[in-house]
Symmetry: C2
Subunit: 332 residues, 2 copies
């Protein structure tokens, strides 16, 4: 069993794949990294079983989109066991298929067992703060290192950035939200300030995307329950649009979930699901840029976005999603 953490762990996984040539893998966890591993291992020809404790995969998006990811996994032969809590991973007794056995409890309490040649545990991230704690640095939310917007810790001339620190969220304030994009930005701010600069980390919107076989799922900003917990007045509306004019060959449907504030009209969050060639990743970035500037849902239709039939529509999908939200918001 191996926790995926450092690059060395990845090399160890690669070595195992090459030398031990496992036929089956159990992946514990169905977040971003777990899904990427399922995609990669299934593409390499392994039989993959994905176990997730929560009721749906990719719990960082709404279950309606998680279900679409689930279907994509299943469609590529991954056995997906949601609502399933792993209890024990042991060496398989002699004569049993696989080198390991994974014992779990399904939603109704039923015992589940799967043999596996390889088990990956991908169940989340904890800040690694031993060094900082030993140095007496103050910690914040979820035990991450407390930093100001300039990435300064509580110790003079000590800066911190990345997965070990708290992250300023533009809509939520202090949060723990470790992401590679954020780490890059925070590192740049810390470096510039360590050299005497005075830059501030502008904040995260939790913008994320993951490819799962031929599909991609993306989000930015807040989901309904996150906005409600933050005291906002959210409404979330699902709609669909073509990635480009359907009369032009090769178009794909995009499922969109827009979350806006009914009181202020502000765009709070967007979630997208669609084909990996449906430009879902950069479409979420259009939404992220709009939310960065605290646009209203209505104002999204004012953006001058590009159009050509093979690559879009005169109203960009993001604008159609915004218009669908407005139509429903007016009925409430």
């Amino acid at each position: 069993m191996r926790l995926l953490h450092s690059m060395g762990d990845t090399f160890a996984v690669m070595r195992t794949l090459e030398q031990a040539a496992p036929a089956t893998a159990v992946i514990v966890g169905a977040g971003y990294i777990g899904l990427e591993m399922a995609d990669a291992l299934a593409t390499r020809g392994l039989s993959v079983i994905q176990m997730e404790q929560l009721p749906e995969v990719l719990p960082t998006v709404d279950p309606a989109l998680g279900a679409l990811v689930h279907a994509e996994l299943a469609g590529h032969g991954v056995e997906v066991l949601t609502g399933t809590t792993v209890r024990q991973i042991t060496r398989a007794p002699a004569g049993e298929a696989g080198r390991l056995r994974v014992e779990a409890t399904a939603a109704g309490g039923k015992a589940v067992m799967r043999p596996a040649d390889m088990v990956l545990v991908v169940v989340g991230v904890r800040p690694d703060t031993d060094l900082a704690k030993a140095a007496g640095v103050a910690l914040g939310v979820k035990g991450a290192i407390a930093v100001d917007r300039g990435m300064r810790t509580s110790l003079r001339n000590v800066f911190a950035a990345g997965d070990c620190v708290i992250t300023h969220h533009r809509l939520l304030g202090e949060s723990y939200l470790p992401l590679g994009t954020t780490a890059h930005k925070q590192g740049r701010v810390a470096g510039e300030n360590a050299l005497g600069g005075n830059r501030e980390f502008a904040g995260s919107l939790g913008t994320q995307v993951v490819k799962i076989f031929d599909q991609a799922a993306a989000r930015t900003g807040l989901r309904d329950h996150e906005a409600a917990a933050a005291g906002l007045d959210p409404l979330t509306v699902e709609s669909e649009a073509d990635d480009h004019k359907a009369y032009y060959p090769g178009s794909h449907r995009i499922v969109m979930r827009f979350t806006g504030d009914r009181t202020t009209g502000q765009l709070l969050g967007v979630q997208l699901f669609g084909h990996r060639h449906a430009e879902v990743a950069k479409r979420i970035d259009i939404a992220a840029t709009a939310i960065f500037h605290t646009m209203t849902v209505d104002a999204v239709s004012d953006l001058d976005l590009s159009y050509t039939p093979p690559l879009g529509s005169p109203w960009e999908a993001i604008q159609m999603g915004a218009q669908a939200w407005l139509r429903q918001a007016r009925q409430h």
Copy 2:
């Protein structure tokens, strides 16, 4: 000979293609529509000759990117004659190849003749204002109908929108810039105001994209000479980035040209060229959304954009282009 104007003209072109089965086509003009026609006709199996009066194709982007479009056309068998002014289109004499002959003058004054079964003239757009003029409506730049931001003409209760009206440009003010996206937005504003609303057209940034065979070229905002003519202090910097992590299969290079103001640091314009699966269209939209909000080039790096290796990089290409601009701007 036929000017491409209405949907009926398109149907007429389709009928000619089906009934007369032309083997060769000359396309006069190499703007967006001319390039789309070259792509479409070559894909149908016709021999295509493209004649453009200006020194490079797609003159709405910088010649450096136009040259890349030119190479893509040539790579797909289109004969591209730039710097070539068409003088005469006549019926071919009996015994000559093709039904028509196109006579032109090349850059050095040399006479050029090409036989063709079909000729398309795609040389730009003029506002169609006969009805408005007859009604006494005031006209503006390039003879287009003058409208305010609410799409009101000089006549009470008469609204106008689309290719026949002047367009408010967010960086240039009054312009003539007929585009489908703009027409949709203006029509919505005109419709809402005609029903007693009070909405304003937020303005264009001239955001455009065109697919040429396997590549796409896009622009938003101002190019260097446009910014200089508007009294700004532009610098344009070309750079390249991968559309996604090069270690992940199927990556493509994107050529980027960023124009920013040296005095204010403001992002003025972006031009992109890359594979049609390199998400160039939506990347230009990220830039368009940034320019809409008058972001500085430096602040583009603050945007929280999505990342996963098959679809991007921790610094989105648009952010890398912004950083390349800053590095060069600091040296001036």
